[in-house]
């Protein structure tokens, strides 16, 4: 995060906009992310907003192992995000490939795929299969604290 100024980082912490990328997970984590937006958890209270384009986003939420078909679209979406940017790897598959460790069609865990195009990529892991919405919210908060 060399090109980011302290002001930008402070602004990001106040209202991180997130973009959700499901890279071939089983969509359970994706549902739990959507759950975070609904009344019980309602992360919009904290200024966390799900946006429709990586160009508008500060934080990328990645779920699932990266299939070979998703590898390039994921890298492209990551490079489109403005700096400072960070990623949250949500779920066992995104952290460590989970049940799909031996699958033939999977290119790798998302952290390795991101590091191929951006060695400075900042990310954290939220383990669980799927992690509960509370865990996801806590993960994003910890990420903001670490920036």
């Amino acid at each position: 995060m060399t090109s980011s100024t302290p002001l930008l980082v402070r602004a990001l912490k106040k209202s991180p906009w997130v973009f959700h990328v499901g890279t071939s997970g089983c969509n359970n984590c994706d549902i739990e992310i959507a759950d975070c937006l609904t009344p019980r958890f309602d992360v919009e209270r904290f200024g966390i907003k799900l946006v429709g384009s990586p160009r508008h986003a500060d934080v990328m939420l990645i779920t699932g192992p990266v299939s070979q078909a998703c590898r390039e679209p994921l890298q492209q979406a990551w490079l489109e995000m403005p700096r400072p940017r960070a990623a949250v790897m949500i779920g066992a598959c995104a952290c460590s490939m989970g049940a799909y460790k031996d699958a033939y069609s999977v290119a790798g865990p998302p952290d390795k795929v991101l590091l191929e195009v951006d060695p400075d990529a900042k990310y954290i892991y939220v383990p669980g299969c799927p992690p509960k919405p509370e865990t996801i919210v806590m993960g994003v908060v910890k990420l903001l604290g670490a920036l």
Partner: protein, 411 residues
């Protein structure tokens, strides 16, 4: 059309690309819509983004590990795939599971249907810009997930089903709490149903949109609520009962028109039936064994059918007598439902396509059982003929390795 900035003539054909990462899609999938002006004339889907090769992984897992892997085929249908596999294995073994196990399977299956249908109702509201319904439906989905967690220890992936029964018991001390939650959800479902049926805007927006006629349902092999919304009376729970459905009192809901409005109504009616089934299960829970213990899997093949929230799920299992399957084939309901987009989307306005695509509750991670490997050009390396030849060669290889199957009989 003299200058490049002038708008295209309304009859000119353009291609609109949706995906793979799109805010309206939970999962990566690519749709190409061929449009002439505002009217959609062609639809095509690229469906290999989520292919993970679970069928191959399944051949490297023992029968005891498989239900847990198969729960990960799809996050919302996790009970679906594990119980469907167990149905296939029990069909192969020709065994009956203990009554308590069948009731437990029914409870987790119906809880899953309730939270899945509520999820769909919310997403459908979101897709047409009716975010109040989205927030309501998902708010009342949370207590259902809580009941699931109370009974099984997890919000979705229960890991309960196993071949020959269920792995663990569910605690009866939480049944009262579960009944109270169901009463609350029942009232809210009634509120949502009334809101949908009475709302003139929803009727104007959804009636007559994305119609599937009963003939198209039969031609495309559409299953589940999408077929029942067109008046096709089909439900595996009644037609070929598994678990405890044959002993319970419930109805198959159908609606006549086949448009998006009816697809919403049929799901809301099914929610009421699911809650009715759940109440009966809590009241009549039998006692006894949970599973049949360790079972030896003989050579042979079995077919499991299961009514998933999205329609009929089929698992084909072939065993060679070892502790891992020779072949496990999954045909998820969305596979046929997604193909019916060719019938339901063409001729619609582009603004109606999103809700039409969503109306069959497509689940791409259930569906993507095959990947097309692309070559240097844009053409797929494998044509359909190649795939048929490969498939036949694989069958011949298996047949020569396994020899004939003496206990194989068509039922």
């Amino acid at each position: 059309m003299s200058s490049p900035t002038s708008s295209p003539a309304p009859t000119e054909r353009r291609v609109v690309q949706i995906g793979p990462f799109h805010p309206l899609l939970e999962e990566p999938v690519g749709f190409s819509l061929g449009v002439e002006g505002e009217t959609v004339v062609d639809v095509d889907a690229r469906m290999d983004y989520i292919h993970k090769g679970i069928e191959i992984l399944a051949q490297q897992r023992t029968y005891d590990m498989l239900p847990i892997l198969l729960e990960r085929i799809c996050g919302i249908c996790s009970v679906t795939h594990s119980v469907c596999f167990c149905n296939a294995a029990e069909d192969l073994l020709q065994v009956e599971i203990p009554p308590r196990a069948s009731y437990i399977r029914t409870i987790i299956a119906e809880l899953e249907r309730v939270h899945s249908h509520l999820l769909w109702v919310g997403l459908a509201g979101h897709f047409i810009g009716y975010n109040t319904v989205f927030m309501w439906a998902w708010k009342y989905r949370e207590p259902v997930c809580d009941v699931f967690e109370m009974l099984t220890g997890h919000r979705q992936n229960s890991a309960l089903p196993m071949v020959g029964g269920v792995r663990r018991d569910i605690p009866e001390k939480y049944f009262d709490e579960a009944r109270k939650t169901l009463d609350m959800v029942d009232g809210k479902v009634q509120m949502l149903t009334d809101a949908v049926l009475d709302d003139p805007v929803l009727a104007a927006r959804l009636k007559g949109v994305g119609v599937l006629t009963p003939e198209e349902v039969m031609a495309w092999g559409v299953v589940g609520p999408t077929a029942r919304a067109s008046g096709v009376d089909t439900d595996v729970r009644r037609d070929e009962p598994y678990a405890a459905y044959a002993e319970l009192d419930w109805d198959v809901c159908t609606t006549p028109n086949g448009d998006v409005f009816d697809k919403a109504v049929v799901r809301l009616l099914e929610l009421k039936e699911s809650i009715k089934i759940l109440r009966q299960c809590f009241d009549n829970m039998p006692s006894g064994d949970l599973n049949l213990g360790t079972l030896h899997m003989p050579r042979g093949e079995g077919i499991g059918r299961y009514e998933a929230p999205r329609g009929e799920d089929i698992h084909y299992l072939r065993s060679n007598g070892t502790n891992m399957p020779e072949r496990l084939k999954v045909r998820a309901p969305s596979y046929t439902n997604i193909a019916s987009f060719k019938a339901s989307c063409i001729g619609e306005k582009i603004s109606d396509v999103t809700i039409t695509l969503a109306a069959c509750d497509p689940c791409y991670s259930c569906t993507e059982r095959a990947a097309v490997v692309r070559g240097d050009g844009d053409q797929p390396e494998r044509t359909f003929g190649d795939l048929v030849r490969l498939s036949q060669a694989e069958t011949r290889r298996l047949a020569s390795e396994m020899g004939r199957l003496p206990d194989l009989q068509l039922k």
